[in-house]
Subunit: 455 residues, 2 copies
Amino acid sequence: MSLERIYRYVDEHADAFVQDLVRLVRQPSVSAKGEGIEDCAELVEEMMREVGLSAKILKGEKGHPVIYGEVKSKRTAKTLLFYNHYDVQPPEPLEEWKYEPFGGEIADGKVYGRGAVDNKGNLVSRLKAVQAYLETVGNVPVNIKFVVDGEEEIGSPNLEPIVKRCKQLFSADAAVWEFGGTDRRGRPHLYLGLKGVLSVELRAKCALKDVHSANAPLIPNAAWRLVWALNMLKDMNEKILIEDFYDKVQPPSDEEIECLRNIPFEEEELRKELGLNQFLKGLSGFEALKALLFQPTCTINGLLSGYTGKGSKTVLPKEAMAKLDFRLVPNQKPDEILEKLTRHLKAHGFSDIEIVRYGSTEPVKTPVSDPFVSLIAKTAEKVYGEKAVIYPLSAGSGPMHLFRNILGLPVVSAGCGHPESNTHAPNENLRIESFIKGVKFIAALINDFAGYSVA
Amino acid sequence: MSLERIYRYVDEHADAFVQDLVRLVRQPSVSAKGEGIEDCAELVEEMMREVGLSAKILKGEKGHPVIYGEVKSKRTAKTLLFYNHYDVQPPEPLEEWKYEPFGGEIADGKVYGRGAVDNKGNLVSRLKAVQAYLETVGNVPVNIKFVVDGEEEIGSPNLEPIVKRCKQLFSADAAVWEFGGTDRRGRPHLYLGLKGVLSVELRAKCALKDVHSANAPLIPNAAWRLVWALNMLKDMNEKILIEDFYDKVQPPSDEEIECLRNIPFEEEELRKELGLNQFLKGLSGFEALKALLFQPTCTINGLLSGYTGKGSKTVLPKEAMAKLDFRLVPNQKPDEILEKLTRHLKAHGFSDIEIVRYGSTEPVKTPVSDPFVSLIAKTAEKVYGEKAVIYPLSAGSGPMHLFRNILGLPVVSAGCGHPESNTHAPNENLRIESFIKGVKFIAALINDFAGYSVA
């Protein structure tokens, strides 16, 4: 079958595809706040049906709905599964957005909005690739399945029971993960794994109420307690101080080191974009990249205590909180890290600090040598006209381990983003050109997968 | 002259006095935000005129207006000056108020509202004492002057040039400071001095924008920078680590120690009210009180960075801030402390931390042996029926040094508050009984001051 016909359809319908993306971006779906979730799930189900998939909403005992979509091929039993998510990060800080976060504004050849690339753009690019097949040839060359998560941005805390329950329904031969894109020079980037993550909130509570700061010689201050507790977690050289934190860290294999050496890391651009003279610890080149992908981290995501308005207020705050995430590498486990964190705080006199656990996912990877990796790399090179760049691990996180470890699939992440897409930041955007190219890439991948030998 | 007639007038007009206080509380005047300031200044001027004072609004080159009021005595050249302020602390956290912070709600025999006691209640109690004289005997036994500040809660940064300019206008023989009250057992408390204060904001800035926390191995995190910088300022034993911070600290004199021993410190009540098993470092009794009054402090008033909403967000924040105040004891100087702080942060590798200076005032005290102290103590004992408790220094702060050092006055603070007035905290309130007693106390003080021998 000629892909030309498919590509032509994509080009002719580009405007309508963009409008469908805008429609999805305009529907807020902030999982951290539970904002717009149900409406967005219904919209995704509707959009799947419009494309020609059968679709249904799956609900777990708790958590946001997952949307499952599929279309069967008349030609083969082989199945390609797409993992995406319809939930988005909170749009804050709002004052830094040029356009409304949920406005879906089109400007400078880009669609602006929270979720434009992460992950609504990627989801729509995949739906539209399937649409192109169904509308032109009336069939798909392989079975297609979609699993669209509603809690990816909060660590997918409720996806595991659904994947376990739907093991048969979700069965496939390979999975394409949610994200990816090209670098500034147009080279497609593929990701074979994810770091794990553990998100927590530390809460210090001292007196029953805020008091006048004149009482400071006598009354414990929750903000100080929190600062001292945080200081116990990481030193100024970025070394995480939690006992045994690094114990199970698996260093990159020779094969992975080889991949790392082929990654054209655009470090100058990144530093320039962020206004930095240097990266942490003066890292650069291979060492910076190795740290980015294979080094676990402990990040403060947010701090709040006492008076934070204009000017000064002589108050001694009764409570203080910090939000933190730990990025984990193979073979660290979130449960073990939480236990180590709890033990560490206790051992250093901070058993008064409450630890609230938010989402977590495990680190996971598909081997560089897996045949699905070669297949997707070849397709990417064909579509983008550039050799694919292979990341043995991504610095990001997600519930990939459920698909790799429970469903047993090779999983590779590839998508339609760009380094200036501002993922998770204000002014998130998707370049329309990248989006349309992304639709074609997925269409080509579906085509090539039909000739893939299942291992 | 019999005070009975004055007291009777006060009792007969108690309801109207409370209504006047409510009227003033209902006018917001948050100096930190510049909210309602001009309107409140005009209201204070109006209320002074209603009482029978001549009043005018004084403006400096910058800052909020000061209201000056006076009434001359036909009997003496002696002058008693009252220092008060019409500005209030920000009311946050709003959700913890039982009544509207600026509603002036009357409940349980109290007036609720931000400023009810600090300092609108005290101001109105003094105005009403003057009114009682003017309405009954048609004159005051001594000259009365009021200086009503509009920036006390932000450290009175613009009062000094006004005091210098108005040295003649403000000339007096003694000054009564803005605050005070009784303890739970009804004993009047007098304060002979104030700690100094220096309020600052520390700001950490790293990258030009917030980024996805996956970048944590490479991108500096402003929240961590701030935590590490704060940790350099005070250790877990409450010792301030800034070089030479304690150098000029003057320990209490024997006379002051004697005063301290006579202070019936209601420590159990304070701990119970705040839900604490013990004070910092297990201090109690005399040692706790000595620390409260004579130990300088470094307090975090507020912390803010990154995402502080519900749930989690995997963001790496570009900026972070902490609001701090330092409480200073004689002979520490705010300017010198700021210089030491700046030098200390620089010496420890934190020259990237921006220090924004807010208000400051110097520590100051009037000697225990000053005759004005004996006078006011005697009056208090007479009115409250209990021996006055004398604090050689208060744990609070204010621009008292301008009145003591520039105008050369003995200054004592006495007022109508109560330990459960929730000064600077949610549900600030003034007991109506304390308020009316406070009016009588000021009336008696004016009377007794007429017989005072100016040193």
